[in-house]
Amino acid sequence: MTIRIKQQSASDSLLRIVENKADVSLNKCYQCKKCSVGCPVADQTESPPSEIIRRLQLGAGDELLKTDLIWTCLSCETCYARCPNEINFAAIIDALRSIALEKGVARPKGNPPLFNRLFLNTVKTFGRAYDLQMIALYKLRTGNIRQDTGRFPAMIKKGKMALLPPSGADKGKVRRIFSRLPKNKGTGK
């Protein structure tokens, strides 16, 4: 098969940024492909884990930030658990996610970045996750209001969805953590 990349200059290579962010060296990868074989979403992705590593090694640029695995990865960490060279590929994916968010190029199907932002916003507000608010806002923002809505009455009745926001957390401590983050990270506010 052919791998196409748009090479970047060595000084600002995505490989180096990713390796630094993830605290991982991709030099040790010898393309045994165990990561791709164990990856539960490999068959539905444009580039499976081993190929993303290869593209980085060959000097891929920012086009890699749009590859679908960044947001379909389930963070199951099977890749890392089975890698004979203990390369933490899950950390590589997290680094790619964080760079894609910083550069504003994350536009995946289902919008997991929006979901993450809404989740973290409830944590920032209440100190704990507030499912109802996060799900309601996610549905409003994505326009996918009907899916699962029929299930909410049963969930509320069975106590599996709290109506009131969580209480009892040390909210100040969590707000301080968020306030010290660089501006382009976290909840985007």
Partner: protein, 289 residues
């Protein structure tokens, strides 16, 4: 036996049954779970997918509280367990991460608080022999497919929970309760829970494969120790049945709910009525139908 208890956000939402059954089991066995005052969200997947230092700091915020209590921290939710252990591992192994966490948290943390899953406490601290003696009721040969998912097991050097490819901790509890633990191929597969709301199609596909495998192995129920897995397999089972064109009606319960039954606690107190798939097979096996 006293521990600092971290319930996690799902304890008051999707996993109320996990929380209730764990407290019930702890009380019946005389294990004291002292809830950490003012505990906050561990950051879950949303934090580590956004920024690693944010993730480690949110988890460390609770670990420093447990450290002040001078106790090991007990966690029930496999995801919180994983995030807390990852934070420990990262601050212990990376001076740069330790510095970032100290800056964001405004407090230094060295990664020294032992994070334990409640199941580990039951097996390793309390012990199977004592557990057996405490049981008032047997599962009477109920067939149980134990399902671990990801967060308890991976990465193995971080969680150090059990063998990452063939774990047996949950099976040993099922056998002690007089149940029959099944040998089946799906126990360490991923349920796809991380995309439950954003890419439901992917979750339904992965959880569907797991439900189908467990059912084919002839099980009466699935036992889990993770709220994400429980939600994917139980709450999504109707979607799975629709996608696979089959009817499964397979109850998915927390291992602590089964333990509670064997300790003589009522199904209601253990949150059995909160399950989406009615656990008739289980209540019938123990004669509480």
């Amino acid at each position: 036996m006293k521990y600092a208890y971290f319930p996690g956000c799902s304890a008051h939402s999707t996993a109320r049954d996990m929380h209730e059954s764990s407290l019930g089991v702890a009380q019946a066995l005389g294990i004291e779970l002292a809830e950490i005052k003012g505990w906050t969200c561990c950051g879950a997947s949303a934090a580590h997918q956004t920024d690693r230092a944010l993730a480690a700091s949110l988890a460390a915020a609770n670990l420093v509280l447990a450290k002040d209590m001078g106790l090991d921290m007990v966690v029930n939710c496999a995801a919180c367990y994983n995030r807390s252990k990852t934070a420990n591992y990262e601050v212990a192994h990376s001076p740069a991460m330790r510095e970032s966490v100290a800056h964001l948290l405004g407090q230094s943390y060295d990664g020294s608080v032992a994070v334990r899953h409640f199941v580990e406490v039951l097996l390793k601290d309390f012990g199977v022999a004592k557990l057996r003696k405490s049981f008032k009721q047997s599962l009477n040969g109920l067939k149980v497919a134990c399902y671990y998912g990801c967060y308890l097991l991976r990465p193995p050097e971080v969680t150090q929970f059990d063998d990452p490819e063939n774990p047996t901790i949950l099976e040993s509890l099922v056998e002690a309760m007089g149940g029959e633990s099944l040998d089946w191929p799906g126990k360490v597969d991923c349920c796809g829970g991380g995309l439950n709301l954003t890419r439901t199609d992917i979750t339904v596909q992965h959880s569907g494969a797991i439900i189908d495998m467990a059912k084919s192995a002839g099980t009466d129920c699935i036992a889990v120790a993770c709220p994400m897995c429980q939600t994917s397999l139980d709450l999504r089972q109707k979607d799975i049945e629709k996608a696979n064109g089959k009817r499964y009606h397979l109850p998915v319960v927390y291992i602590t709910q089964l333990l509670g039954l064997c300790l003589g606690i009522s199904p209601k107190e253990l949150g059995f009525d909160r399950l989406m798939v009615t656990p008739t097979a289980i209540t019938r096996a123990i004669g509480r139908l």
